[in-house]
Every structure is written in C-alpha cells, then in structure tokens.
C-alpha cells in the first residue's frame, strides 16, 4: 500500500498489456489539424480557450467601465451591461477554465505523466476538440444575432432567461443553451479519455499512488464533470423546449406586463437545483486540477517532496465526493425549503476540512525546503494567498445564516472571483511558465514574466479584497448602476472607480503575457532537457518537445513516486521516476531512459508478462 515511501522504491510490477499502436500522421493536415496526437489536441484546446478568454477579458473591461464610471459611457446601456456580465461569466467558467484545465493541461500531461504513448481513444480525443470548437463558435455567433447574446446572468435562471424583460431572449438564449449542450458532448468525449487513460494507460510501475497530484486532480475533476454535466445538459434541453416549443418545465403561471402567458405549472426552482447540481461540482472541476498542478509546481521548485502525499490524494477524492452534496448552498435564499439549510450548511463547512489540509500541506512543503523563487513558484505562492483568502470567505457564504445578508451582493462576486477566478488562473500561469519549455523547447522571458506576475497578483488582490467590503455595505451584484440609495456612501463609488482602474491595469498585463508567449516561441532562450530538474515522467522523454508516441522505441519503467527531491544519499537533488535504483547514487545528469535501448532483463519481463 505504502508505495510512496523510499523503502519500496524500485518495485516494478510485471507489464499487463502490450504496447499501444499509434495513428501516425500521414500529412500536414493529420499532423496539425485533424490530429490525433494528445499534445497537438492539447495545444488546439489551449489556444481556443485563450482566444475566447480574451473576449471575456474585454467584456470584463467594459462592465468595469460601467461600474466604475456610471453615466459616462453612452455606448453601454442596461441590456449591454447584462450581456457583458453573462457572457463574461459563462466564457470564463466553462469555455476557458474548464476547457483549459481539462482539454489543455489534461490532454497534454496525462499521457506523459502516466507514461502512455497517447490517450486511450485518440480519435474520440480529436472529435472532442472539434466539437468544443463548434460550441465556442455557436456561443460567439450569439454576438451577431438580432437582440445579441443573452443577458440572463451566467446562471440563466428561468423564467427571466426566456422572457422579454431580458436582453437576448430572441436568439441569444437559444444559442447559449445550444452551445452548452454541444460543449457537454465535447467534454464527455474528452473526459472519458482522461479517466480511462489514467486508469488503463499507465506504464509499468506507475501505480496509482505513484501518480503525480496533477493527474489525480485532473482525473478526479474529469470524473466530477462526467457526473455533473448531465444535470446541466438536462436543464439546458428542458429550457430550450420551454423557449422554443412553449413547454413549461420551469415556467409557472406568469403575468408579464399585464398579460397572461401560456405557461403554467412549471418550477423555476427545479432549474436551480439542476443548475447547481452541476454548478457546484463545476467549482471543483476548476479547482481540483489547480490543486494538483500547484502541488507539483511547489514540490519541484522547492526541491522537496510534496508534504503528506497520501493525505493530499484522499483530500482530492473527499472534496470531489463532497462537492456533490453541497449544491444548494447557492440557494439558501432561493425560497427552497428552509430546512435544507441545516444539511447544506453542514456539508459545505465539512468540505473546508480536506481543503484546509491541502493548504497546510502546501505551506508545509515549503518548510525546510530549498525554495527557488522561479516564476512557477511565485505564481504558486500567489495562488496560496488568493486561495486562502477566497476559501475563508467561502466559510461565510456556506454558513447559511451568514449567507443571508451577503448573498447576491458584491461580497459573493469578490469571493468567487478570488477563489475560482484569480487562484486557478494564477496556477494556469504558473503551469504555463513551468511546462512551456517542454511544449516548445524554449523558455518564456523572465523579465516579462516578473512584470506579469506582480501586476496580476497584486492587482487582482487590490481588485477583489476591497470588493468584499462593498458587499458588507450591502451593494448588490448585477446592478447596472447603483443610483440613489440612503445607505451606500459616496466613498463606495470612489472604491468602484479604483477597482475599475486596477482591472484595466491587470487586463493590460495579460497582453504582455500573450506577447511573451508569442515572442518566446520564436526568440526565447533554448531550454535544456529538464530545465527545472523535475523528477516526474513528462520531462524524461527522449525528445524535447516530445514527438508523436512520446517515448521512442520502448515505454519508460517507473520505480518510484514523482516527488523524490533531495533524497538523502542520492547523487543529485532529484531522482527521476524512471531512474533505475542502481543509478540513484550517480551524480551526473540522468539520461532520458525512455529513448535508449531496452535493457535485456526488462524486455524479457515485458514479453513474459504478455504470454
């Protein structure tokens, strides 16, 4: 069981299955466009997600301009504003964060980290990307239809989502729902692949308890997605029927502008339950990959094994499981049966325990470490600050009675941006700075990276930390403008203007990051084979960047977990997962073994096991 302790390093079970066959590309098109290579698909996913993320960034600027300087920009009216916030929210949560973590990092890293040549179902993997792209295009099309995109809020609550008081109720909402349904189809194909590959595609010696936490995080998130997205699928289809065919799944008797509508008998709360049955696991679909990745970044750049690996794995699984029984904490003031509050507040606060354990273990990993303040490490530290901050405000909102005054205020906006916006995005950046050399063979520019980190981290903290206090005053969210009130002081308007300026600056820093990615791709410093001296398997491929099939003639054999840093007695401060035990004491750079000729004994072992 205790596969992680150094005492059992070197144990390798016999191979159980044969090496996989590959779908080698035949032409430029099958290599870069209709590619079945998980690495190409990962890049395609990531580029699409970042592109659509830029749209969300511009939308956030526009909405902040309106909030910070109301009655200044005549080109933003109420309908525009609600369309901006809706599209910003949906793009960020689904089309950027989910797609980038799972379709991007999941695709790139899972096969490399588990020692597989590719995903288990490469063709399905390819389809997953193209269907995702279709979902993005359908969503973007809603900007160009009469009435524009939906302005129903990213939660899309009926009845208003499909009634005339809401912008985009003509076509925008239809395209939004259609796009979500298509996205779920794409995700299902990808998600099945990620889970199956991690379970079935692991190389010899890669036991479950030797997997890097990145894989644990992404795979658990994929399982959550496979179980949670169907609820959104059902809700989306039902609302489409309500809108297009006039059914009444979510529509009660409604008098709109003095006129009785044809609807009757449906339940608006039913949609909210379906939405949040998906929506809360969705938070962890974004958070768990970030948890996993940041664990690996911290360990690698602190040259220390992740603290409490087994506890970390169990915490990921516990959080994943609990995330399915907390959804109605988004509905404490929705008018659902108030006695639900007792149950959902309790489950929600229980989830804080495994989450806190993860935080402790991250900072304890830094204890007596050898901390290299590289860009990935800086972003990881930034993640811990923002995640702890956003996590503890979750304890306010999860504790039912505290939620009552704070729900639907700017406190909520500040909370979820800190915890599932800023924190995971800092991990994404850290991960890009960390794995960019593997993906391109070049390093990202350090100076631009430092600028990007400090402006993003401090700027985002300045945006969202004070925003909580607007919520305390009672400033409601989703307000086009505050207008005259008796309780909001003038100074709150000043704070709003300050937040807007900070948001514009932070947004600008992202453009520097994009420039850095493009610039370094062509002119960046060439990376060494393993620039961070990482012990995990993805850095041990024979070619950098890894080529199709990843491992050359023979698959790597894994002898230990991914966190053997600063092992006493080892020749160097890291021991790659695939370094044979007899070479651990060597002091020269370990060679990438996957590419070399297969040692005679090991090859025999493979063949025997296959008989």
């Amino acid at each position: 069981m205790a596969n992680i302790a150094p005492t059992d390093a070197g144990y390798v079970p016999p191979a159980e299955v044969e090496d996989t066959e590959l779908h080698d590309p035949q032409s430029f098109i099958t290599k870069y466009i209709w590619s079945q290579d998980h690495k190409v698909i990962a890049i395609q996913y990531s580029m699409t997600a970042l592109a659509v993320g830029m749209v969300a960034l511009v939308l956030s600027w526009l909405m902040r301009l309106q909030l910070g300087f109301p009655e200044t920009f005549s080109f933003i009216d109420e309908a525009d504003y609600y369309q901006f916030i809706t599209m910003h929210g949906m793009i960020m949560v689904i089309y950027l964060l989910t797609a980038l973590f799972l379709g991007g990092f999941g695709n790139y890293l899972i096969p490399l980290m588990v020692g597989a040549r590719d995903m288990v179902f490469p063709y399905l993997n390819m389809l997953s990307f193209w269907v995702y792209l279709l979902a993005v295009l359908v969503l973007m099309a809603s900007f160009f239809v009469p009435g524009g995109p939906t302005g129903a809020g990213w939660t899309l609550y009926p009845p208003q989502a499909i009634l005339s008081g809401t912008p985009g109720q003509e076509y925008g909402i239809v395209l939004m729902l259609a796009s979500l349904v298509i996205f779920i189809v794409a995700f299902t194909m990808g998600g099945l692949n990620y889970v199956t590959t991690a379970l079935q595609g692991r190389t010899r010696g890669m036991t479950l308890m030797r997997l890097p936490l990145t894989v644990w995080g992404i795979v658990t998130a994929s399982i959550l997605g496979l179980l949670a997205f169907p609820a959104l699928f059902v809700g989306g289809v039902m609302m489409l029927l309500d809108k297009v065919l006039g059914t009444s799944f979510f529509m009660p008797t409604i008098v709109e502008l003095g006129e009785q509508l044809e609807y009757g008998g449906g339940s608006p709360l039913l949609f909210q339950h379906l939405f949040w049955f998906f929506g809360h696991p969705e938070v962890y679909i974004v958070a768990l990959p970030a948890f996993g990745i940041v664990s690996d970044l911290l360990a690698t750049h602190a040259r220390k094994s992740i603290f409490g690996y087994r506890m970390m794995v169990w915490a990921i699984l516990a959080i994943g499981g609990l995330s399915f029984v907390v959804w109605a904490h988004h509905m404490f003031v929705s008018g659902m049966n108030p006695y639900f509050g007792f149950f959902f507040a309790t489950t929600t606060l229980i989830i804080a325990v495994p989450t806190a354990i993860k935080v402790y273990n991250w900072v304890l990993t830094l204890w007596q470490a050898d901390i290299h303040l590289t860009l990935p490490m800086l972003f990881s530290i930034g993640f811990i600050v923002t995640f702890v901050n956003g996590g503890i405000t979750g304890l306010f909102l999860g504790n039912v009675v505290v939620d009552v005054p704070l729900s639907d205020t700017m406190f909520v906006v500040a909370h979820f941006h800190m915890v599932m916006g800023v924190a995971p995005i800092l991990v994404i950046f850290g991960a890009i700075y960390h794995w960019y050399p593997l993906m391109t063979g070049r390093m990202l520019n350090e100076g631009m990276g430092q600028f990007h980190f400090w402006v993003t981290f401090l700027g985002a903290y300045l945006i969202y930390f004070p925003m909580h206090y607007l919520g305390f005053i009672g400033v409601p969210r989703r307000y086009y403008e505050l207008g005259d009130t008796t309780f909001i002081p003038e100074s709150a308007e000043t704070l709003n203007a300050f937040i807007t300026v900070a948001a514009l600056v932070v947004g600008f820093a992202q453009l520097v990051f994009l420039y850095n990615m493009i610039h370094s791709f062509m002119k960046g410093r060439k990376s060494s084979q393993n620039p961070w001296s990482s012990a995990s398997l993805e850095w041990q491929t024979p070619q950098k960047p890894p080529v199709h099939g990843n491992w050359g003639p023979s698959l790597p054999i894994v002898y230990r977990w991914a966190y053997d840093y600063s092992v006493p007695g080892a020749g160097r401060d890291y021991v790659p997962q695939n370094l044979p035990p007899d070479q651990v004491g060597d002091t020269d750079d370990p060679q990438p073994i996957g590419g070399g000729p297969v040692p005679a004994g090991q090859a025999a072992g493979v063949m025997e096991a296959n008989k």
């Binding site: 809020g153 608006p268 003031v333 008018g335 007792f342 830094l366 008796t486």
Partner: protein, 300 residues
C-alpha cells in the same frame, strides 16, 4: 527577501484595511443582530487562519530560500502533525457552524404571533398586501390578475375582502412587532432585500416564500431587488418605513381594501360601458375555472 516582505505587507495591509476602512455594514434595524454576531465569530476564526498561514509562508520563503549548497529536508509525511491540524480545523469549523445553525433555526421558526404582510414583485416594482381587520390574507392566484385585480385576489374568498392593497406607495411596518413577510412574484424571480434588516429571500413565481423579522428602529429604508430580473433590475426599488404604533395605525386607516377597490372598479366600468352591457361576468368566469386550484401555497 522581497517576496517575504510583500507577503507580510499583504497580511498587515489586509488587517489594517479591515479595521480602518470606512466600509462596513449599515447600522442594523431588525432583530437579526445574531447574524452580525455570527459574522464577527467567523471573521475572527478565519482571519486568524489567514494571518497564520500567510505569515508562516512568508517565514519559509525568507528562511529556506535557495542558497548555493542548500538541500531540502526529506520528510514526505508526518502523520501526527497532519492529524493535529485536521483536528484543530474541525474544531474551528464547528465553532462557526454551531452558532450559524443555531441562528438559522431562529430564522426559519416564525413566531406564532407574527403579523403577516405580503410583498408582490413584478418587473420592476413592489406592491404590498395586508390582511386587514380579520388578520387573514385572502387566497390568490396569478391567473386572476387583470387590471382591476392586480394582486389576483380570489373575489369569492371572504377573507380577502378586507385585505389592504398598497400599490405605488411605501411599505409600512410597525416597530417591535414580529412580521412574517410572505413573498409572491407574478413574472420572474426577484429578491426582497433591505440591507438594514439583514434578512432577504427570493420571490418565486408559482410559489409563496417567506422570512420573518422584527423591525427595531424607526425610519425609512431602501428596498432593493437582489435577484437579477431583467434590464430594469437595478431600478426595482421601494421604501419601507418603520413606524411607531400610532403612526402605523393612522397610515393603515387611510388605505383602501380589496372590496372597496373592486367596487370602485365596477362602478367605473359601468360608467364607461353605458347601459345594456352585462357586468362583472369576466371576473366570475375566470374564478369558476380555478376554484379548486391553489398554486400559491406557502412553502413550510
């Protein structure tokens, strides 16, 4: 060094901001001071954790930063420490949850003697209905709503005849009397939100939701809609005036009942239609269709 200092500054800055900034909750005007107390407990527990974790990290960054020849300690786990931290966290969580659930129990237990007031939300205005002298609201149904019966009160229900209807005017509540707010919407979701009351609840079309409070301070307070309800969401405002008993009774005596309103509407209709037009049967036909239906049941 720089990183550690910035981390410390973030902690110090956050704590100073918390205590020094002018932005804090509005002075309370209801019995829900318990909610504020729970927030304060939560602030202390979570604030301590935040400060401790970030300062610990700052210390590590300062103390264990890479130097030539430095090597990390190899300590993959420490069961004892991990269980201690788990236990302490569980205690902290229980320390917030227990008062939270205790207060929630009060929030969902409406006092027996509470007055009843109905809030009706629609895009984008608030209206109010009081039960009148009998203390009982008449039954209602969104299908009965028309220009003469904006609340959809069942005209055949004797309890509804003396209901007081308030449209386009302020909500009045008497001070120090518990009141159960029954919430109805006739179109989309809304949320009845008065920051000084702390309490809020969504209005859900097709259902009647509720919360209760006891106003503890006289004055006029803003009512806002706190659930996105379309382009006019931000202008869906109202005012609630908390009166002392005498002012409240005086205001109440000036209001019109449902029966008075209906009679006036009928009279106007007669006047406009002239002689020979059958009167009033639009009303009765609709009622006969829905006589056994009561979609607007309170959730309890």
């Amino acid at each position: 060094m720089v990183v550690a200092v910035i981390l410390i500054l973030i902690v110090v800055g956050s704590v100073v901001f918390h205590f020094m900034s002018p932005w804090w909750w509005t002075p309370i005007a209801s019995n829900w001071g318990y909610i504020d107390d729970t927030i304060i407990i939560t602030f202390w527990i979570t604030g301590t954790v935040f400060v401790a974790v970030i300062l610990f990290m700052a210390y590590c960054v300062l103390k264990f930063q890479h130097k030539e020849g430095r090597r990390a300690t190899y300590e993959p786990e420490n069961k004892k420490l991990e269980w201690w931290l788990t236990g302490l966290t569980a205690i902290g969580v229980a320390g917030m949850l227990a008062p939270g659930l205790f207060v929630w129990n009060q929030y969902v237990s409406v006092p027996e003697d509470a007055d009843v007031v109905e809030v009706l939300g629609q895009q984008w205005q608030w209206s109010y209905r009081y039960p009148g002298e009998d203390g009982v609201l008449g039954t209602s149904d969104a299908r009965l709503i028309d220009s003469d019966n904006p609340f959809g009160v069942n005209p055949n229900d004797p309890n509804g005849q003396d209901d007081i209807l308030v449209e386009g005017d302020d909500l009045h509540l008497p001070i120090d009397r518990p009141v159960k707010m029954l919430l109805r919407s006739i179109d989309v979701l809304h949320d009845f939100y008065v920051p000084q009351f702390r309490a809020k609840m969504d209005l859900v079309p097709g259902a009647v939701t509720f919360f209760w409070l006891t106003p503890t301070r006289t004055g006029a307070f803003d009512i806002l809609c706190a659930e996105l309800c379309g382009t006019g969401h931000h202008i869906m405002r109202g005012t609630v005036i908390v009166d002392n008993a005498a002012e409240y009774d005086e205001w109440m005596s000036e209001q019109e009942t449902f029966a008075e309103l209906a009679a006036r509407a009928k009279a106007e209709e007669k006047q406009q239609a002239g002689l020979g037009t059958p009167t009033g049967d639009g009303f009765e036909k609709k009622v006969s269709l829905v006589v056994n239906e009561d979609t607007a049941k309170p959730i309890q």
